[in-house]
C-alpha cells in the first residue's frame, strides 16, 4: 500500500485532493474503504472472486466520478461509495437474472479470508457451514433489511450513521434492524430446510482445509 490511514490531513482535505485525482488522496481513500466495500459486496454476493471483481469495479467507478462527488464529510463519502458498490452489485444480479437460484454463484472451496486462525479441521468445516448459511440467509431478506444488517452488524456503523447512510430517521432504522435481525434469525433457525441451503451445502463438501478462517474468532484483532 502506498499510503496509510488515518491520513495526516483532515478528511475534507483528502476528499478535496481526491476530487483532483491526487495520487496520495486516492490511495488513502482506497486503503480506508477497501475493507468496507469488500465486506459490503461480499455480504451481498457471497462469492469471494465475484466480490473482488465488484469491489474493483466500484473503485474504478470512484476514480471516474471522484471529481463530481458532492460529499462533505466521511460519512457522506461512504454513503456515496457504498451506493456505487450497491449499484454494481445490482447490475451484476440484473445481468445474472437468468440464474434464478441465488446460490448458483457459489464455487466450492471459496470462502472469505477471515482474521482468525483455524487449523482445526472441524472448526474450518463448521465455519464454512456457518458462512454458507449466513450468506443464504442474508439473501432471504429484503434489500433494505439486508442493507441495514450489513451497515450495522458487518460494517459497524452506529444507528445515526446508518440513518444518514440510508437517508432515514434513526427510529426507523432501529425498527428496520429489529425486523431485519428477526427475519435473519427465522431463516437461520430453519437451517437445513431451505432448498437453497441444501444445494449450497452440496457445493461445500466437508473436506478439511486450512485455507479458511486462519484466525479464531476469539483471537484479538488489531
Amino acid at each position: 500500500m502506498s499510503s496509510r490511514w488515518p491520513p495526516d490531513l483532515p478528511f475534507t482535505t483528502v476528499l478535496e485532493r481526491a476530487r483532483h485525482l491526487d495520487r496520495d488522496a486516492i490511495g488513502q481513500l482506497y486503503e480506508r474503504y477497501l475493507p468496507t466495500v469488500y465486506r459490503f459486496v461480499l455480504g451481498r454476493v457471497g462469492d469471494v472472486h465475484l466480490a473482488e471483481d465488484l469491489t474493483a469495479e466500484t473503485f474504478f467507478a470512484m476514480v471516474e466520478s471522484a471529481d463530481r462527488v458532492r460529499a462533505g464529510d466521511e460519512l457522506g463519502f461512504a454513503a456515496w461509495l457504498l451506493g456505487i458498490a450497491r449499484n454494481k452489485t445490482a447490475e451484476h444480479f440484473r445481468g445474472q437474472a437468468v440464474r434464478a437460484a441465488a446460490h448458483a454463484s457459489f464455487a466450492p472451496g471459496i470462502e472469505p479470508r477471515a482474521g482468525a486462525e483455524a487449523d482445526d479441521p472441524q472448526r474450518v468445516v463448521a465455519a464454512r457451514e456457518s458462512w454458507a448459511e449466513v450468506v443464504v440467509a442474508l439473501r432471504q431478506l429484503t434489500d433494505e433489511q439486508r442493507q441495514v444488517v450489513l451497515y450495522r452488524c458487518v460494517l459497524g456503523y452506529d444507528t445515526d450513521a446508518v440513518a444518514r447512510l440510508m437517508d432515514r430517521q434513526p427510529g426507523a432504522i432501529r425498527a428496520l434492524q429489529f425486523r431485519a435481525l428477526a427475519a435473519l434469525a427465522r431463516v437461520l433457525s430453519a437451517r437445513g430446510t431451505h432448498p437453497a441451503l441444501a444445494a449450497l451445502r452440496a457445493t461445500f463438501p466437508p473436506v478439511p482445509t486450512v485455507t479458511a478462517l486462519r484466525r479464531s474468532p476469539n483471537a484479538p484483532r488489531r
Binding site: M1, S2, W5, P6, P10, F11, H20, L21, R23, Y30, R32, L34, P35, Y38, R39, L42, G43, V48, T55, F59, F60, V63, E64, A66, D67, D73, E74, L75, P112, R113, A114, G115, A127, S130, W131, E133, V134, V135, A137, V149, C153, V154, L155, G156, Y157, D158, T159, A161, R174, Q177, F178, L181, A182, L184, A185, L188, S189, R215, P217, R221
Partner: protein, 413 residues
C-alpha cells in the same frame, strides 16, 4: 423501552471478547476521525439485557452469526494489485482531464525551478501544442463542414458530402434491417426534395440529384431487404418499400409537367424502373437527307403527337409517328453537328432518349462564307469529314450503336 430500542442498545454496547460484531465495527471504523462511523456507546441502556431477554436473544445470536463476514478481509495480493490498477487509472484519468501531460512528463524531468531547462526540451511541448491546434482547427472545420452538409440540398457543392455522411451512417448500422430503415428514411427525405424542386421548377442539377438519390436509396433498400431472412421485420420493411415506391410513382408523375425535357427523360426512366409503362428508344438513326438530317427512332410507347427531342429539346419536323417508329427531319445548319442524344417526348410528358446514334450518308454542303477555307478540317466523331473542295465520294464517318458521338466540328462548312 421498546424491543427495537433495546436491541439497538445491545448492538451498540461493548461486547465481551469474541463478540465479532464489535470487532467488525472496530475495523470498519479504523480511524477515530471517522465521524459517525465509530461504534457508539450505549445510550442509557444496559448491555446485559440480552441474557435476560428471550425476545432479543435469537436476534443477537443472528447478529453474531455475521461474525465471519464482519471479519472478512480482502486477499492482500488482490488488494495490492487492485491498488496499483486504481492508481494507474487515476493517473490516466487525470491526464485525460487535464488534456496535456503533467509537467514532469512534458519536460522529461520533475519540475525544479533551480535547474535550468534545456532549450531543446521545449520542443515536445511546442510540437504538442501545434499538433493540438491543427487538430482542433481540422476538427472544427470538419464539424462545420458536416453541419453544413447536413443541410445541403441536391445541386449544392456539399450535396456529395451529405450523401457521404448518409452512406457512412448506413455503413455503421449493425444489420440489414437497420441499413434498410436508414435507406428508407433517406429515400423519403430525397423524395420530399424532388417534390419541392418540381414545385419550384428547379431543374437540373437539384431535381436530377434528388431523383437519382431517391432511386439509389430505393435500390439499396431492396438489396438490404433481400439479404434479410424471412420474418415479420422483413415483411414490414417490404411493405414500407412498397409504400415508398407508390409515393415515388405519384411524385414523379406529378413532377413531369413541371420540369424540362431533359429531366422528363430522367423521370421517365425512373418511372420505368418503378414498373410504369413508359416510352423507350431502342435505336436512333441519323441519315443525310439533302441539306437536312432524317431522323428515325425505333422503340416502344411512342404516342401520337410525340415530338422529337434533339439534345433534350424539341426540334425538327415530325414526319410520322407510326407504331414504334418516329421519323422526323432536322434541318442542318452551318453550326449544327451530330447531336449528343435523340429522343421522343410524348404528350403526357413522358420522354425517352438515346445517345447511341447511327449516322449514315453525308450532308450536302451548305454554302457559307467560310467555304474554301481548307485550313479548317471539321470532323464528326473525331474523323475528318467531307469538306467543300474535297472528294465528295469520301466515306462519311459514322458512329454506330453504343458509341456516343462527340463532334469536334461541323459536318459541313
Amino acid at each position: 423501552m421498546r424491543p427495537e430500542d433495546r436491541l439497538d442498545a445491545l448492538l451498540s454496547a461493548p461486547q465481551p471478547p469474541g463478540w465479532a460484531l464489535r470487532s467488525g465495527a472496530s475495523r470498519a471504523g479504523e480511524s477515530a476521525t471517522m465521524a459517525g462511523a465509530t461504534p457508539s456507546s450505549p445510550r442509557g441502556s444496559t448491555p446485559r439485557v440480552a441474557a435476560d431477554d428471550p425476545e432479543l436473544a435469537p436476534l443477537m445470536d443472528a447478529a453474531q452469526r455475521l461474525a465471519p463476514l464482519a471479519a472478512a478481509r480482502p486477499d492482500p495480493v488482490f488488494a495490492q494489485a487492485l491498488e496499483v490498477r486504481v492508481l494507474a487509472h487515476s493517473a490516466e484519468r487525470r491526464t485525460r482531464l487535464a488534456g496535456v501531460p503533467e509537467p514532469e512528463d512534458v519536460w522529461g524531468a520533475p519540475a525544479d525551478p533551480r535547474r535550468p531547462r534545456a532549450r531543446a526540451s521545449h520542443a515536445p511541448l511546442r510540437v504538442a501544442l501545434v499538433a493540438a491546434a491543427v487538430l482542433v482547427a481540422l476538427g472544427l472545420g470538419a464539424v462545420a463542414s458536416f453541419s453544413a452538409a447536413a443541410q445541403a440540398v441536391p445541386g449544392s457543392p456539399l450535396f456529395g458530402l451529405h450523401r457521404l455522411e448518409q452512406n457512412w451512417q448506413v455503413v455503421t448500422a449493425t444489420d440489414s434491417a437497420g441499413r434498410a430503415r436508414l435507406h428508407l428514411e433517406y429515400a423519403h427525405e430525397w423524395l420530399a426534395v424532388v417534390r419541392d424542386a418540381a414545385t419550384s421548377h428547379l431543374g437540373d442539377p437539384t431535381y436530377r440529384d434528388a431523383v437519382q438519390a431517391v432511386r439509389d436509396e430505393d435500390t439499396a433498400t431492396a438489396r438490404e431487404i433481400a439479404a434479410m431472412g424471412a420474418g415479420t421485420e422483413r415483411t414490414a420493411l417490404a411493405a414500407d418499400l412498397a409504400n415508398l415506391r407508390a409515393d415515388e410513382r405519384t411524385t414523379l408523375r406529378a413532377a413531369l409537367p413541371a420540369v424540362g425535357w431533359p429531366d422528363r427523360v430522367l423521370t421517365t426512366t425512373a418511372l420505368g424502373q418503378l414498373g410504369i409503362s413508359v416510352p423507350s428508344v431502342a435505336s436512333a438513326t441519323l441519315a443525310s437527307h439533302g441539306q437536312s438530317w432524317r431522323v428515325t427512332l425505333t422503340g416502344t410507347g411512342f404516342a401520337p403527337g410525340a415530338v422529337l427531342l434533339v439534345d433534350g429539346q424539341p426540334a425538327g419536323q415530325i414526319i410520322s409517328v407510326l407504331g414504334d417508329q418516329l421519323e422526323a427531319d432536322v434541318p442542318a445548319t452551318a453550326d449544327s453537328g451530330v447531336p449528343g442524344s435523340l429522343g421522343i417526348g410524348n404528350p403526357d410528358y413522358t420522354a425517352a432518349a438515346t445517345s447511341g446514334i447511327r449516322v449514315t450518308g453525308s450532308l450536302e454542303p451548305v454554302p457559307t462564307a467560310t467555304t474554301g477555307d481548307h485550313d479548317a478540317t471539321p470532323t464528326v466523331g473525331g474523323e475528318p469529314t467531307a469538306t467543300p473542295g474535297d472528294d465528295h465520294g469520301a466515306t462519311p464517318t459514322a458512329t454506330d450503336g453504343g458509341g456516343e458521338p462527340t463532334p469536334s466540328g461541323s459536318p459541313t462548312q
